[in-house]
Amino acid sequence: MPLWLAVPAVVSLLVIAGYPTVVGIALAFTNSSLARPLRSFAGFDNFVAAAESVAFAGSLLRSAVFAVLATALSVVAGVAAAVALDARGGRFGLLGTVLLLPMVTPPVSVGVAWKLLLAPVGGAFTGLWDALGIAGFNPLGSGVGAFSTLLVMHAWQWTPLVTLLVYAALLGVPAELREAAALDGAGWLRTLRSVVGPQVAPSVLAVAVLELVIAFKVFDLIVVVTSGGPGVSTTVASFEVFRTAFRGSFEVGTAAAETLLLGLVVGVVLAVAGLVTRRVRDADR
């Protein structure tokens, strides 16, 4: 196998991973500005600044909570839709395509659509709020409300990925297995739980890890819908890093230190998720 086939991959990895990591570490330990990077050695000053930043310290936890809850929500909804598609039988067809559309919608448009949908004036639910006696209700008005609403928006966009991949896994379950279970007198639900479930569990877990990765990257929605507010209630880490670097004071060194800490948190969460996945897979055997 000619080794030069690996050249494009290696160059890509250097540009998207190697170079950013090296420069990120260099920026984190030096004083820099956007115009003049790497001015002087700063020791751990940038990490101290990151830890002392109220907005950032909380944002790491918010990112982790967002990723875990968004994943749980999409996996539950997506598995339900996949099982329903499987039970309906027939082709994926037009209905399947409709279910997939949220996934290809530009996240910025998703944000605009939901923001307008929920607007206290001119939104789709103003009549409902009036009827319920909470006229002018704004789900984005409170911290908890805004965070939950963003979770729903994100899950709206990424549930279809779960539906599609779990449905594909369900199709892969050998028909003989289901027939054998039916012959043994197992009902539909029992077959689903005891025969089909274990078969597709590895796929569900793989999709869950993928959803976790995607949810940690959430950025566009935050910018468009809440700008991190009200207060800092929806300021997730990627948004806060971006704001530290480009908006306001251009604290490049602090932002670089923050990205390293964020990378660490994501790494730990994914390592735990990977461990759980492996446990479940091994327990099956």
């Binding site: 990120g24 789709a124 709206w156 990627s238």
Partner: protein
């Protein structure tokens, strides 16, 4: 009622609710884009009188046509680059034994890192717009390899070996034997990468700072008036971004679904 009837009814009910949920926000955008200011503030789902003036107004307020063109240029350029890199790479990860496996793992690990980590360093490297297609294209390589790897694995080795016996080099074998067989997967992967590059926002808002070079996603984020006056225009502008990807997704439905579901979960 017997159990199968309940099940058939239940599954259809779940799917109907899911379909309504999937379409509702975008359909509401359509409704808003066809309504005047008063009609919008009165609330409700449907226009009382359909009017089209939000559409031209949106194109006047921000340079939407220019941004749409930018989005397509960036997404097409990025996708081309992704495919050029991903094809030889997927061949290596699928056929390269242990080394291939390692390359595959490294690529997936690179995909797991939040992209904001790369923004600052790349800002210093690029500071320009031309780089946007480049960055988007390279950033999507792991996704394309992840999708293609499974397709290459399913090409029987014997076919390639027969080609080698007939005097084909490894590279010629990839081009003339493997590539035609993984074409459906390649099309699906290209579509997914096109969508990802077209929808990308973080790199776009960081690097494309001059208005003439901004893609639609950045334009839409700037289109943020909290006044009700703008709702109709905002809705129209969002739809300008959505319509092309929806058309593409519906047109290429079968390829997309096949490619995603066959390649991905192994």
């Amino acid at each position: 009622m017997s159990a199968p009837v309940v099940r058939a009814f239940g599954s259809r009910a779940v799917l109907a609710v899911a379909a309504v949920l999937a379409l509702a926000p975008v359909l509401f955008l359509v409704s808003l884009s066809l309504r005047g200011v008063d009609d919008i503030s009165n609330g409700g789902w449907l226009p009382t009188r359909v009017r089209w003036d939000n559409w031209p107004a949106a194109f006047d307020t921000v340079p939407l046509a220019r941004m749409l063109a930018n989005s397509w240029l960036i997404a097409l350029g990025a996708t081309l680059l992704t495919v050029l890199v991903a094809v030889p790479t997927a061949y290596l990860t699928a056929r390269g034994g242990r080394r291939g496996q390692r390359l595959y793992s490294v690529l997936l690990a690179a995909y797991c890192a939040p992209p904001v980590i790369a923004v600052l360093p790349l800002y210093f490297l690029l500071k320009s717009v031309l780089g946007l297609a480049l960055v988007d294209g390279l950033a999507n390589v792991p996704v394309a390899v992840w999708l293609l790897d499974g397709f290459v694995r399913r090409v029987p080795r014997e076919l390639e070996e027969a080609g080698w016996v007939d005097g084909l080099s490894v590279v010629a074998g990839v081009r003339r034997v493997v590539l035609p067989l993984v074409l459906p997967g390649l099309v699906a992967a290209s579509l997914v990468c096109f969508f990802l590059a077209y929808n990308e926002f973080l790199f776009a808002v960081s690097f494309a700072q001059s208005p003439s070079a901004q893609p639609l996603t950045v334009g839409l984020s700037l289109f943020q008036g909290d006044r009700t006056v703008q709702f109709g225009q905002q809705a129209a502008a969002s739809l300008v971004a959505i319509v092309p990807v929806y058309l593409l997704a519906v047109a290429a439905q079968r390829l997309l679904i096949g490619g995603l579901s066959q390649g991905a979960v192994k």
